[in-house]
């Protein structure tokens, strides 16, 4: 376990370094207005622009600029250009909304994805399976940017069942918190519900043909015990891997669209704003935050994986 953690930490540092370099390089090669010019305003004198360049270090070499930026990240001094707000504060402020959205959506998509997949698999070929297949394909096919406005139009403006989004803090009012998040949750979860139910269904159909399932039947287990204890249990292993990748990616990026569409005051909205204003520090901050969670969640998944599948042992090069 200790070896596993050390290896994972090393990998994480490597990934974060690579991400920071890539984001930095991409930003630098993209055509853009001189940020000092932007900061100085419309009618700035060249002298003012020069002094701003010197103050921010825009005239340093790229390597020095990169070094300065990394130093600022570690000391917590990284700020956006205009207004000058610390990036780490912004990210921290966005965390409650973003985590409420993504964790809630993840629970919903896991629950419904697995439920629908399970029902589909045990009734494979029947009418229920066919209906659920149609529903899943529809869920996978509807894009978020279409679904969100449609839901908002009908359920919020027309029928007024749900409030116009905005984030309400959980500590303020848990009921309102949930009420404001239901539409974003389902919007974000829908695609994954469809996808996960398909994946679980096909895994279960594969596992049903395994010899050990026949053994379980030969022992006299009921059909339900065979399905849950043996078929479902073993079919979940690959789903967990998938979930790790998807959940990390959702926190790191997928949630951005949903946050923007429902104007939830989270990290995604902040990232979208930063990209629109073309400011490197918040983009860098958000990218590193995202990369951190992708790597972190994947490490958790590997631990869960070793627990779910005893043939996998952490920290050993390989078994057998």
């Amino acid at each position: 376990m200790a070896r596993f953690i050390v290896r994972r930490l090393a990998a994480m540092i490597g990934v974060l370094f690579a991400v920071s370099v890539i984001v930095f390089v991409v930003f630098m090669v993209l055509p853009k207005q001189n940020p000092a010019q932007t900061l100085a305003g419309k009618n700035a004198t060249p002298v003012l622009v020069k002094s701003i360049e010197a103050e921010w270090g825009f005239d340093d070499s790229l390597v020095v600029q990169y070094g300065t930026m990394m130093k600022k990240i570690f000391t917590g001094e990284l700020t956006s250009y205009k207004p000058r707000i610390p990036v780490d504060n912004q990210i921290k402020e966005g965390i409650p909304a973003t985590f409420s959205l993504t964790i809630g959506a993840a629970i919903i998509w896991l629950f419904f994805g697995l439920l629908l997949g399970y029902l589909s698999a045990i009734r494979a070929g029947g009418w229920l399976d066919r209906i659920l297949t149609g529903v899943s394909i529809a869920g996978i096919s509807i894009p978020v940017f279409l679904l969100a406005p449609v839901l908002l139009y009908f359920l919020t403006y027309k029928l007024e069942i749900f409030p116009n989004a905005q984030y309400v803090d959980f500590s303020e009012d848990p009921y309102e918190w949930a009420r404001h998040l239901i539409l974003p949750w389902f919007t974000l979860a829908l695609l994954s519900i469809g996808f996960y139910s398909r994946v679980l269904r096909s895994n279960m159909l594969d596992v049903m043909n395994e010899d050990y399932v026949r053994t379980a039947r030969a022992k006299g287990l009921s059909e339900r015990e065979v399905m849950t204890r043996h078929v479902l249990r073993n079919s979940l292993i690959p789903v967990i891997t998938l979930f790790g990748l998807d959940f990390g990616a959702t926190i790191a990026g997928t949630a951005i669209i949903t946050e923007v569409l429902f104007s939830l005051d989270g990290i995604g909205l902040y990232a979208a704003e930063a990209v629109r204003k073309f400011e490197l520090p918040p983009i860098m901050g958000v990218a590193l935050y995202g990369a951190f969670f992708v790597v972190f969640v994947n490490a958790l998944v590997d631990i869960a994986y070793a627990y779910l599948d005893p043939r996998v042992r952490l920290g050993e090069s390989s078994s057998e």
Partner: protein, 350 residues
């Protein structure tokens, strides 16, 4: 052989509806099994032996399966029993072990707990600790060393032979009356095979267990069986006692199986004898005897399929489905001084 049969199978027929038509995997199989008896069912892949075995405990029940005939355990009809009744019987009265011990245990659970699961399914008031104690006893009975530690191992920590022993321990957990072993040694090394067969034989003797042994390996049959059923294309083509099948085989297919055994007491053959051709598709059986296209002794009568009956003159339990007269059979089954199937020309020239 005077005891009443424990398991009585009568004209069992199992068909599966497929897109290309009905596959009659088992076509009129009948046999009786008494306590303490070992019945071997032999045949090539696709002869219907495994389907027969799995049908006995209801594992072939499916929407596309058509099961006819009768399977009676102690007089109780099983083909018409409800799924719940069959479930109660599986493991408890009729246990089954499978071909591949590598894949027959669920890789994510400890071996011991998988056996405890079988016990607790039928005896729900057994505590997990009692179940485990029982598993340790069973492991000792089937010769697994360090039984107390090994119950907590996962399947991948067991060798193939040990896994098959554990499989047998699981089958014995509830002291069944009938044990069905479906190719129990096929996936094992030869040395391990002998150990497993020895174990099965010992358990059969000690526990008076009625055993059905499914195999394609006549060497395995010779070691443990009392009676033998030879199957081909879903039908029994010959049945008799071990000695009758080995020393006085009546059906050319049986000769072929016996002729393709390697024997340590004979000179090494130039090449291993084999039965030419392959088993027919069950969707497209030849008219008459299904072995006809592969049989060098085919003649005009073979377009009609003979009944399974005793053809030796006096009535006996040694029955076969071949039109040749007993004299012709005695003469034709001799190939180079031993029992075998004369190979058709093309194979001999090869």
């Amino acid at each position: 052989m005077s005891a009443a049969p424990l398991l009585s199978v009568n004209d069992l027929r199992v068909g599966f509806a497929t897109e290309d038509g009905i596959v009659q995997a088992v076509d009129g199989v009948s046999f009786d099994l008494r306590p303490g008896e070992v019945l071997a069912i032999v045949g090539e892949s696709g002869s219907g032996k495994s389907v027969t075995a799995q049908t006995l405990i209801g594992l072939t029940r499916a929407n596309n399966a058509r099961i006819e005939g009768s399977v009676a355990l102690d007089g109780k009809e099983l083909t018409s029993a409800s799924d719940a009744e069959m479930r109660k019987l599986r493991g408890e009265r009729v246990a089954m072990i499978f071909q591949d011990p590598m894949t027959s245990f669920n890789p994510v659970y400890r071996i011991g707990s998988q056996i405890v699961e079988a016990i607790r399914t039928h005896r729900p008031d057994t505590s997990k600790a009692d179940g485990k104690t029982r598993v340790v006893e069973l492991f000792e009975a089937v010769g697994i060393p360090n039984a107390a530690q090994r119950v907590d191992d996962y399947p991948h920590e067991f060798s193939g032979g040990m896994r098959q022993r554990a499989m047998i321990a699981m089958a014995l957990a509830l002291e069944p009356e009938v044990l069905i072993a479906d190719e129990p040694t096929t996936a094992l090394d030869v040395t391990i095979q002998a150990q497993i067969l020895g174990l099965l034989e010992k358990l059969n003797r000690e526990r008076n267990l009625a055993t059905i042994l499914i195999t394609h390996d006549l060497g395995v049959v010779a070691e443990v069986a009392d009676r033998v059923l030879v199957m081909y294309a879903g039908k029994v083509v010959e049945e008799g006692t071990l000695d009758e099948i080995f020393y006085d085989p009546q059906h050319p297919y049986t000769w072929g199986l016996l002729g393709s055994l390697t024997r340590i007491d004979r000179p090494r053959p130039h090449r291993l004898p084999q039965i030419a051709g392959s088993p027919p598709s069950l969707l497209d059986l030849p008219e008459g005897c299904p072995f006809r296209p592969r049989c060098p002794h085919e003649f005009s009568k073979c377009t009609e399929y003979p009944a399974l009956e005793s053809r030796g003159g006096e009535a006996s339990d040694h029955r076969d489905r071949c039109w040749l007269s007993p004299e012709q059979k005695r003469e034709k089954r001799q190939v180079e001084g031993q029992i075998g199937l004369e190979a058709p020309g093309e194979v001999r020239q090869a």
